[in-house]
């Protein structure tokens, strides 16, 4: 593992039965760095994330977090799924929800401080099922951050929120990177946001198409290749 790497994914290939879903992906994440995984729908982004988290088996390759298997350091990892499906009629307050994820070694004041930092302190006693998409996303980010992880994995955090909340969300991600020196893996299909906010990008379309600094690697030709010549159509679809 690279000495400065927090997280390292090396030559990872994922298969379902004999079908290759993702092949030969390699990248690393350092503390205070945002690495985006960019690709069209069905490119294997979410499958890759599940494999990195240990939720889907890897056919070949290695994944290391803090020099060990991911499962050995789950407390140091915060995860925001693409969709947080739950029964919205369930009577549960934001405070109760967050307490479920508070590790015994974490002080209770973490709930207040993260809610305040994410600008949703006033929601602490609200019903979880009554929150808007943007509010729920922020509460969920607070949930992922509760135990002050070193690595945050966000799977399409812009899903289900409006355009103004989206830029706000990306600014929050940069704030977390700068002020908390977290490593962040961000799955996205928003080329502009990745260009503006990520330090490095992994372009994925079943296999790794590019890897590097967004301003250098996200060329017009590369995006055409990544989206099979249909970037504008793809963005329009979203």
């Amino acid at each position: 593992m690279n000495e400065t790497s927090l997280f390292e994914c090396r030559n990872v290939t994922i298969k379902y039965d004999t079908a290759q879903i993702v092949s030969d992906v390699s990248f690393s994440v350092a503390l205070g760095e945002v690495v985006a995984i960019l690709g069209p729908n069905g490119s294997g982004k979410s499958t890759l994330i599940k494999a990195l988290l240990g939720l889907t088996p890897i056919a070949s390759g290695t994944v290391q977090f803090l020099g060990e298997e991911v499962s050995s350091n789950l407390l140091q990892l915060g995860y925001l799924p693409q969709r947080f499906d739950f029964d919205k009629t369930l009577p549960i307050t934001v405070d109760e929800f967050l307490r479920l994820f508070l590790h015994t070694s974490t002080d209770e004041s973490a709930i207040d401080s993260w809610l305040a930092e994410l600008g949703v302190m006033d929601l602490r006693h609200s019903q979880l099922g009554e929150l808007s998409g943007g509010q729920l996303q922020r509460v969920n980010i607070a949930r992922a951050l509760l135990n002050s992880p070193q690595l945050l994995i966000l799977d399409e955090p812009e899903a289900g929120i409006d355009a103004s909340a989206e830029r706000n969300l990306y600014e929050t991600i940069v704030h977390l990177k700068k002020h908390h020196q977290m490593g962040i893996i961000l799955v996205s299909h928003e080329v502009d946001m990745v260009h503006d906010f990520a330090d490095r990008v992994v372009c994925l379309n079943k296999s790794q198409v590019c890897y590097g600094v967004p301003s250098k690697v996200l060329t017009k030709d590369m995006l055409e290749l990544l989206y099979d010549g249909g970037l504008h159509k793809h963005q329009h679809d979203h």
Partner: protein
């Protein structure tokens, strides 16, 4: 009149069993409602008939054999769900009817089986024996100890499985243990309200509690309160008016549910 009835030991046993089961059902029922497992509990109740039938034909303790069969059913269900592409609903539909059919065929070998069949289908808590009561209390304590210890884990798992797994929760283990706990609880309640009605006792109190609470803690506490109220009031009404205990308990719950819906609607 109620105090006269309470002098009888069979009434005391029935009340004690009712209170213990009400507590157990409220605690488990909250998770059954959140995880939408009502058909699952229905399936276990019906499958337990195979156990009762085996016990009758072999002359063993029906409650114990039914417990073993229900636990086997729970393990079989969770393992088949993992190993096939079939949904839970489909698997329950296949398995519980098969177990029940097996139970009916075995029961047919026992002369005068209809009376036994009716007592298990509709329950009669007034016939609960000391042995049944002891088994009920011991098994309830074991299940409650598990749920109390892993209340936070089960709540997290009920909310979102994927996030729970990343949190380090052993989801497969706890799904299996919860299924076994539910199987045990359902079989214990067969004597109280019968195979046909037992799942209603798991669902109605949390359903009312969901309508009367604004927090998860409140949800759990209200479920316990409603469950105790339904079982005790239902049992006393059935005794006072000489009606079958199981159906009266369920009807008490149904009435409270309708009143709660009406009250919420008028707000």
């Amino acid at each position: 009149m109620i105090f006269d009835l309470l002098q009888y030991s069979f009434v005391q046993r029935a009340l004690l069993a009712g209170v213990v089961l009400a507590l157990l059902y409220a605690v488990l029922g909250v998770f059954v409602v959140v995880r939408k497992m009502s058909f699952w509990s229905e399936g276990i109740a019906h499958a337990s008939l195979a156990g009762v039938a085996v016990a009758l034909i072999t002359g063993t303790q029906p409650l114990l054999v039914a417990l073993v069969v229900a636990v086997l059913f729970a393990i079989l269900m969770t393992q088949l769900e993992k190993r096939t592409n079939l949904s839970f609903d489909t698997l329950i539909g296949v398995l519980f009817t098969s177990f029940m059919a097996l139970g009916l065929v075995i029961m047919n070998q026992v002369s005068g089986y209809q009376a036994e069949l009716v007592s298990y289908l509709f329950g009669n808590i007034l016939t609960i024996s000391y042995v049944d009561l002891v088994i009920t209390i011991v098994m309830t304590l074991v299940v409650l100890a598990y749920v109390m210890k892993y209340n936070k884990t089960l709540t997290t798992l009920s909310l979102n499985k994927e996030v729970s797994q990343v949190q380090g929760i052993r989801s497969d283990l706890h799904e299996q243990l919860f299924a076994i706990a539910l199987a045990v609880a359902v079989v214990l309640g067969v004597k109280l309200v019968g195979i046909i009605l037992v799942s209603a006792l798991l669902i109605i109190p949390p359903a009312i509690a969901k309508l009367t609470s604004r927090s998860f803690y409140g949800f759990q506490m209200h479920a316990v309160m409603w469950s105790l109220l339904i079982v005790v009031v239902g049992l006393l009404i059935s005794l006072l008016y000489n009606q079958p205990s199981g159906p009266v308990i369920i009807l008490t719950g149904s009435a409270l549910f309708l009143l709660t819906v009406a009250r919420n609607h008028m707000k």
